[in-house]
Symmetry: C2
Subunit: 207 residues, 2 copies
Amino acid sequence: MAGLRERQKAGRRRDILAAAAKLFRRDGFADTSIEAIAGEAEVAAGTVYNYFESKGDLLIALVALDGEEVRAAGRSIIASPPKDPVQAIQKLLTFYIDHSLIHLSKELWRNAMANALSQPSSKFGLAYAELDRKLADQAGELIACLQARGEIDSSLDPKTAGDVLFEVVNSLFMVFVAREEMPIALLKKTLARQVKLVFAGLCPSDA
Amino acid sequence: MAGLRERQKAGRRRDILAAAAKLFRRDGFADTSIEAIAGEAEVAAGTVYNYFESKGDLLIALVALDGEEVRAAGRSIIASPPKDPVQAIQKLLTFYIDHSLIHLSKELWRNAMANALSQPSSKFGLAYAELDRKLADQAGELIACLQARGEIDSSLDPKTAGDVLFEVVNSLFMVFVAREEMPIALLKKTLARQVKLVFAGLCPSDA
DNA sequence: CTACAAACTTAAGTCAATTCATTTTCCGGA
DNA sequence: TCCGGAAAATGAATTGACTTAAGTTTGTAG
C-alpha cells in the first residue's frame, strides 16, 4: 500500500533536490550552504544527510538527472544520423555540448566533476562514472551504425572508437568549463578540428 | 646580498612543502590537516597561508614539481624517438604514465585534479592547466618530428594531433586514478588500443 | 646607534560541512 | 485503542579549513 512513510520519504528527497537545484543555480555551489538548502526544503540540516552523503553528492545527483536527459535525446540522433559520417559524429557530440549549459552553469559543472573525481567510490561518484560510460557507449553505437552503412572501416572496434571520441569531447568540455571566458563557439570549432583528425588518422595517406 | 629574509623565506617554503609531501604521502590528503603540516614544518598554521593559498594549492605545487620532472625527461624521448611512429608515440605516453605513480598515489592525483578543476583561476589552478598544456605541446613536438621523417601525414596540424593524443592519455589516466583496483597494465593496454585507432583513423581504408 | 616601516608570524577567532545523541513519528500487533 | 520498536528528523556539538588583528623581526635611513 506504499505506506505513508515511503511516500513521505520520496517526497522529501524530491523536495531537497529541488531546493538544492534552485539555490545552486541562483547562488552557485560555493555560496549555497546546507543550512540554506535545508531551510528551503523545510527540513533540518541533519535531515539532508539522511538522503545525500554530502553537498557534492547533491550536485552530482542533479548532473545525473541532466545526463539521463541528454542520453535519451541522443538516441534519436543515432536513429537517423546524417549521411556524411563526420557530420554524424559532430552532430552527436555537438548536441552533448549544447545541452550541457541548459540546466547547469560552468561553475556547477566544475564542482560536479571535482566531486566525482575526489570521491569516485561514493554512491554518486559511481553514478557519475557510469553516466560517462553510457555516453561513451552511445558514441560507440553511432560508430557501429556508420560501420553498418560502410561509412567507417568495419574492422575497427566501435567501442574503442566511441571511447576515443567521448574522451575528446569530454576533455575539451573540461577545458571549456575551467575557463569562464571561453565561448561555446570556440569549443565547437576545436572539437570539429579534432574529430576531423581522428577520422582521417595520423598515418600518411597513400597519395 | 640575498638578504637573510629572502633566504629564510625560501627555506620556510621548502620546509612547508616538504612537510606536506611527507604527510600527504603517509596519511593521504583528506587525513592530513593544515595543523599537522604546520607542526611538521615547525611553524604556525597561519604561516602556511603566507606561502600557499589553500591546502589544495599545496598539493598542486607537489604535482607541478612532478610535472616538470616528467617534462624534462620527455624531451630525451623526443630527441631520439623509435623508428616506428606508433611505438614512438606509445613510448612517450607510456612514459608519462609510468612516472605518475613514482611520487604521488592515486588518492593524491584525484585530489590534485579535483582541486585544479574546482579552482581553475587560482594561482596553482592555472599552474596545473599550464602543465597540461605543456605536456600536450610536447606530444605535438613528437608528431612534428615524425612528420619531418615522413612517418606521419605532413598535412596534419601537429598541435591538434598532440592535443588529441594528450587528451586520450589524460582521460584514461583519470579513469585509472578513479579506480583504486585498476592495474597500470590495463591502463597501458587500453592506451595502446586507442593510440592505434587514432593512428589508423576511422575512415574506410582503400582496400 | 636608533627609530621606523615593511614583511612575517602567531594564536585566537569565524564559518560551514558533517556527525551524533536525543526526540519524534510511524507502523504492526495485542 | 494502546504499546514497543524501528525508522527518520532534529539541532547542538564537533571538526578542520581558512581569516584576521596584534605582536615580532628584519632591513634601512638618518
